[in-house]
């Protein structure tokens, strides 16, 4: 059991980070904290890609003419793209949080929910059928 843990310790780190991230997204009510959780979650995927590309004893993939063992560079390049996507997502998410703070004056999920549900109730309470009701 301990060997399984030590041999594949990189994957265990990935799994732990992944679950932490998802848990933060689900459990936190603060919109910024949720984005932090999302970032941790995405980072675990970056680590996953990078560690699966590692060849034991491999070096950086630079052609020197000698036969050497290289790490696989492709996942690293893929993850560069994914990191850019992650940054864009975080930036957009934070921009939305700023706008939410400006219009609602709160970034706590349950307070936002209360404000939205109150409006919804108002909509549903306007029973259709009362013709010519004042708008």
């Amino acid at each position: 059991m301990l060997e399984l843990f030590l041999d594949k310790y990189n994957y265990w780190i990935v799994i732990v980070l992944m679950l932490f991230g998802l848990y933060i997204v689900i459990s936190r009510g603060n919109l910024v904290k949720k984005l932090v959780g999302l970032n941790v979650f995405q980072t675990s995927v970056f680590l996953f890609y990078i560690s699966l590309a590692k060849a034991e004893g491999g070096t950086a993939p630079i052609l020197t003419g000698k036969t050497e063992l290289f790490s696989n560079p492709l996942p690293h390049v893929l993850i560069l793209t994914a990191i850019v996507v992650g940054i864009a997502t975080t930036a957009l998410g934070l921009a939305l949080v700023v706008r939410i703070q400006e219009t609602y004056n709160t970034i706590e999920e349950d307070e936002l929910e209360d404000l939205n549900v109150a409006v919804m109730k108002g909509e549903q309470d306007r029973i259709p059928g009362a013709e010519g009701e004042a708008r």
Binding site: F48, P75, P128
Partner: protein, 495 residues
């Protein structure tokens, strides 16, 4: 012609390059016109592509001349040809409508940026569909998703709830996309390839291992979030309700369709027989969730007073039909799914555009405000009624064609109970469409409300889609032949 062989990539790269140009066009009419040209260009490309594919088989394009599987391959066959046609076609029809609609719903200074986000979303959706490279799919998925969040948030000047809707969509959409990319990583780990066809070949040569099954599970769950399969649909009703009307019409008709296509592509072409999980997943998870979505969506729709939200819940139900066809894992079932992809885009596009017309005139889509509107806006409401009939599945409309093939697929497997459930859920659609008809035609308009018919620039695009609803409902040869080719191409791999 040199351009002809580059068509598969041109229709993706064209909009991609157009987006930054559009962002610097500060005159909103110019930005709109530019967007329209780009979109119509993409539409013509996809029309030519589909024609070529139907005549001479799948087209493979190697990006930058790098050979697949090392390079990125774009591959167009019947199943994604038709999805490309839907996406670019709906976009081109919605754009003329969008001009007046955006003017009524979005502050003027945002328009050129809004059109930029629109082009990016179009790029992403076309890219997802055209590419044959698994990681490329993820990149385009995120391009389309990020621009969609922006488009949804643009509704915030009408209703601030658009912001929270966009935020929730961002969180769930990102989780979905990340699940998808984890799946791709596991697949790469098992096969060492990212090209879809190459992965399929390599999966056939390796023994069944846990990694492949886990990859399949991650990809399916990630895509189910993106296509809003019940119970992962929670982002959809809010996003569709609070986005600007034109955005809703565009997204409802295209975004979930691209995700459904991906689900088909990965399940059949990539995994196919490579993962033993496909058949059990479809039987024990796919079909029950599809049925639950069909009923939960329709029943929730009956209780909505905001009509955009009503149609959004109805979309959840309609996605249920698509997943149901897929879950049957037969040629007819996948045909029904492909047909419904196409047909549902036509009907939901028409319905959401009709509501957009109503909103421009009375600034509300609440059912209480629609009393008597049928007499004051006869053309708009007639479009809504025909769209509604199509949604129910009345003969002579496209809705009937989809239901016909879905029921045939169920009958093929002698699943009578499925047929009964499909008919029962269609009857639920009668109830929520009838509520609107009752309010619009049988009630008197509130005294003192003078409402003119919607402007022609919005009515004509709406009626183009309504006309398509009837045309493809009467003469289904084209759609059925493409859907058959698509289904045989996808499911044929398995047999």
């Amino acid at each position: 012609m040199i351009a002809a062989e580059h068509l598969p990539v041109l229709q993706v790269v064209g909009p991609l390059l157009a987006a930054p140009i559009c962002s610097v066009l500060r005159i909103r009419n110019l930005a709109w016109f530019f967007t329209l040209i780009v979109s119509v260009g993409a539409f013509l490309c996809s029309l030519l592509l589909l024609q070529t594919v139907m005549e001479s088989g799948p087209i493979s394009y190697e990006l930058g001349g790098w050979m697949a599987p090392l390079g990125i391959e774009y591959r167009v066959d019947a199943s994604n040809g038709i999805v490309l046609l839907i996406i670019s076609g709906i976009s081109s029809v919605v754009l003329p409508f969008a001009k007046r609609s955006f003017e009524a719903e979005v502050p003027e200074k945002l328009h050129s940026l809004l059109y930029t986000a629109y082009i990016l979303c179009l790029t992403g959706l076309l890219g997802i569909t055209a590419t044959a490279d698994a990681f490329n799919v993820f990149v385009f998925l995120e391009i389309s998703s990020l621009s969609t969040y922006v488009l949804v948030a643009a509704g915030s000047s009408i209703d601030r709830r658009a912001l929270t809707a966009a935020y929730n969509y961002l969180i769930l959409g990102t989780i979905g996309a990340t699940f998808f990319v984890i799946g791709i990583g596991l697949l790469y780990m098992a096969t060492g390839s990212l090209n879809m066809a190459d992965i399929a070949v390599r999966l056939g040569t390796i023994a069944e291992i846990r990694t492949v099954d886990v990859a399949f599970a991650f990809i399916v769950v990630g895509l189910a979030l993106k296509l809003a399969l019940f119970p992962l649909h929670t982002w959809l009703p809010n996003a569709y309700t609070h986005a600007p009307s034109a955005v809703t019409a565009f997204l409802a008709a295209t975004a979930t369709k691209a995700a459904v296509y991906l689900m088909l592509r990965f399940s059949f072409t990539v995994f196919g027989t490579g993962s033993g999980l496909l058949a059990p997943m479809a039987g024990t998870v796919g079909i029950p969730l599809a049925l639950a979505g069909m009923f939960a969506g329709s029943i929730a729709a009956i209780y909505q007073y905001n009509l955009k939200r009503m149609l959004a819940y109805s979309s959840v139900a309609q996605i249920g039909y698509m997943v149901l066809g897929f879950g049957l894992l037969s040629v007819t079932g996948v045909m029904a799914t492909t047909l419904h992809l196409f047909n549902h885009a036509l009907m939901k596009g028409a319905l959401f555009m009709a509501l957009g017309c109503v909103f421009v005139r009375i600034r509300s889509v609440h059912i209480a405000d629609l009393s008597g509107i049928g007499r004051q806006m006869p053309w708009t409401m007639a479009a809504f009624v025909i769209g509604g009939l199509s949604l129910i599945g009345v003969p002579m409309t496209v809705g009937f064609i989809s239901k016909w093939y879905l029921i045939s697929a169920a009958l093929e497997q002698e699943a009578w109970w499925l047929v009964a459930l499909i008919v029962a859920s269609s009857l639920l659609a009668v109830i929520y469409i009838w509520r609107v008809i009752e309010a619009a035609y049988l009630k008197a308009p509130p005294p003192g409300r003078a409402v003119a018919e919607a402007p022609l620039s919005m009515l004509i695009p709406t009626w183009v889609l309504v006309g398509a609803n009837i045309y493809f409902g009467v003469d289904a040869d084209f759609t059925v032949s493409v859907a058959r080719a698509a289904a045989e191409g996808l499911v044929g791999v398995m047999q």
